[in-house]
């Protein structure tokens, strides 16, 4: 009985965030444009600098000679990363500003249900975006994607998603108690951007930044996905093992942050704006 009640609550949260999302139609268009912007930019930079569709330099460093496929796979991971960092965290903060977060938290529903409902909608959305992107990329930019390899990459992406959600939960839990969350989220977003390895192999970063990138779930996901798509699971055991480790770590961290946030809310209360 309790379980079905909780599921109904989850359904309620999910439909709510879905509706709110749909109400920003123009932003959806500009979101989707972002993908074309990134991938298109990558293609034009490549052609403008080398005049070719293949890069021996990239091949040597990463095993990918087709820099466009490299960028498309990176962008997919980046898309997921941003969904759980900015999309998710902003939605919670927006509700805090609007004052509706307190109402949601005052309901008998478990607080984790609220977060999960938001997260589920975002996973779904990310897949919808991908379904829009991939065929269009193939048509417009002539991206070469081997369907078998590509589908092999999806479980790895989902594995990485666990860690990204954990980090998103941690951020959301902490940000709620900051005086001015806006710039803090921006800074985190930029870390995701710079350290996700979406547009370039993190090997070319300075050492300290490489370590930081390795310590966040995004770059390990990018690397594992790329490796699996090109070389299959067996050749990617190292990358996958590391990803399992980092995802578990962040899932745990997210859970702890959530517990802390739960306790904190009772002690200091949510701010009213």
């Amino acid at each position: 009985m309790a379980a079905t009640e909780e599921l109904r609550a989850l359904y309620g949260v999910a439909t709510k965030s879905w509706r709110i999302f749909l109400s920003y139609k123009l932003w959806m268009v500009s979101d989707i444009m972002l993908g074309f912007f990134f991938v298109g930019q990558a293609l034009l930079i490549g052609i403008g600098l080398t005049g070719q569709r293949n890069s021996p330099a990239l091949q040597q460093m990463t095993g990918y000679s087709d820099y466009l496929t490299f960028a498309v796979l990176g962008f997919m991971v980046l898309g997921f990363g941003l969904t759980f960092m900015s999309g998710f965290v902003w939605s919670v903060v927006d509700e805090l500003y609007a004052g509706t977060l307190e109402y949601s938290f005052a309901a008998p529903m478990r607080r984790i249900t609220f977060f999960l409902g938001n997260v589920l909608v975002r996973i779904f959305l990310s897949f919808v975006y991908m379904a829009v992107y991939i065929p269009l990329f193939v048509l417009m930019f002539g991206v070469h994607i081997d369907p078998v390899g590509f589908f092999k990459g999806i479980p790895v992406l989902l594995l990485g998603t666990v860690g990204m959600i954990g980090l998103g939960m941690t951020a959301a839990g902490v940000v709620l108690y900051l005086k001015d969350p806006g710039p803090f989220i921006n800074i985190l977003e930029m870390l995701v951007f710079a350290l996700s390895g979406a547009m370039y192999p993190i090997k070319i970063l300075p050492k300290p930044l490489q370590l930081l990138a390795k310590a966040m779930p995004y770059a390990p996901t990018s690397e594992a996905v790329r490796k699996v798509v090109a070389f299959g699971y067996l050749n990617s055991i190292n990358e996958i093992t590391y990803l399992v480790f980092i995802s578990t770590l962040y899932a745990l961290l997210g859970y702890l942050a959530y517990k802390w946030s739960e306790k904190q809310a009772r002690i200091v209360g949510l701010k009213s704006y």
């Binding site: 123009l26 932003w27 268009v29 500009s30 444009m33 972002l34 912007f37 298109g40 930019q41 990558a42 034009l44 930079i45 490549g46 052609i47 403008g48 600098l49 080398t50 005049g51 890069s55 021996p56 330099a57 990239l58 040597q60 460093m61 820099y67 960028a71 001015d180 806006g182 710039p183 803090f184 921006n186 800074i187 930029m190 951007f193 710079a194 979406a198 547009m199 370039y200 192999p201 070319i204 970063l205």
Partner: protein, 267 residues
């Protein structure tokens, strides 16, 4: 001077939050690094003979840094109108300002100038960072020679942005539209890649964007060209300053007439 008062007010609000300034600088840097690092990874180095033959600049970091900084500055007045006015509308302060005896055009110009100053400060930091991290060689005379072109570009950017002032006042919320447009400018004006990879029609179209000429002129100076050699770009810029200020002003007057019927508030 009311204009100074507006600038002082905007700067005060912006620099009051150091974390916001820091995050803005970080956004500026990360965005730049994305594409420069990508280009370098594909090239396997920093020098592209192809780029050199099509644009005269072979060093990719220099090419991208100049383009990027100018792009950011070129959309600054537009952002001032799109986000600055919207913020004042949301805050409810827009009408309080309009009710003062100051001219509305002066009010808007003040807003755009403040944003241009703030963005210039940000871009100076990003530029210095880029020079350092990419090890770009730069002489004092290049900077000095760039300055007049930069000022002329600012004039053109202000006029270009003014087209949006009227639109925002009338339509209130054009954020997503503006964002798409800003990104499109990256493609049209050859910021991260040489324009000659684009179709002919787009190359022609790009001539009406001030950024295209501003970028060409300043990149020229960076590789040691004289003013005489970049004269076509300068002429274009002068022409565009006139055209955009005129068109922007007429469009604004028209939008203002309609807004006075609708009301300035409406949030």
């Amino acid at each position: 001077m009311p204009l100074i008062a507006i600038i002082e007010k905007e700067l005060r609000m912006f620099f009051r939050y150091p974390l916001r300034v820091f995050s803005a600088v970080l956004v500026g840097i990360v965005f730049l690094l994305q594409f420069v690092f990508f280009g370098q990874a594909v090239l396997g180095g920093r020098y592209s003979p192809l780029l050199a033959s099509s644009t005269g600049i072979g060093d990719y970091p220099t090419y991208a840094l100049v383009g990027y900084v100018l792009w950011w500055l070129s959309v600054s007045p537009m952002e001032a109108y799109v986000w600055g006015i919207r913020r004042e509308l949301q805050r409810g302060t827009f009408e309080t300002n309009i009710a003062a005896p100051i001219r509305i055009t002066e009010l808007l110009l003040g807003l755009a100038l403040s944003w241009l100053i703030m963005d210039s400060v940000l871009m100076m930091i990003v530029f210095a960072f880029g020079i350092l991290i990419f090890g770009i060689s730069l002489t004092f005379s290049i900077l000095l020679k760039s300055l007049p072109i930069l000022l002329l570009s600012f004039l053109a950017f202000l006029g270009f942005g003014f087209i949006f002032a009227g639109l925002v006042m009338m339509l209130k919320h054009i954020g997503p539209f503006a964002q798409i447009f800003e990104f499109a400018m990256l493609f049209f004006s050859g910021v991260f890649f040489p324009l000659n990879v684009m179709p002919k029609a787009i190359i022609e179209f790009s001539k009406i964007l001030p950024l295209t000429h501003s970028v060409t002129a300043i990149r020229g100076i960076f590789v040691g060209k004289t003013y005489a050699e970049i004269a076509p770009s300068i002429t274009w810029l002068l022409l565009l300053v006139l055209v955009y200020w005129l068109v922007g002003y007429i469009l604004f007057r028209w939008a203002e007439r309609i807004t006075r019927v609708m009301g300035y508030g409406g949030y």
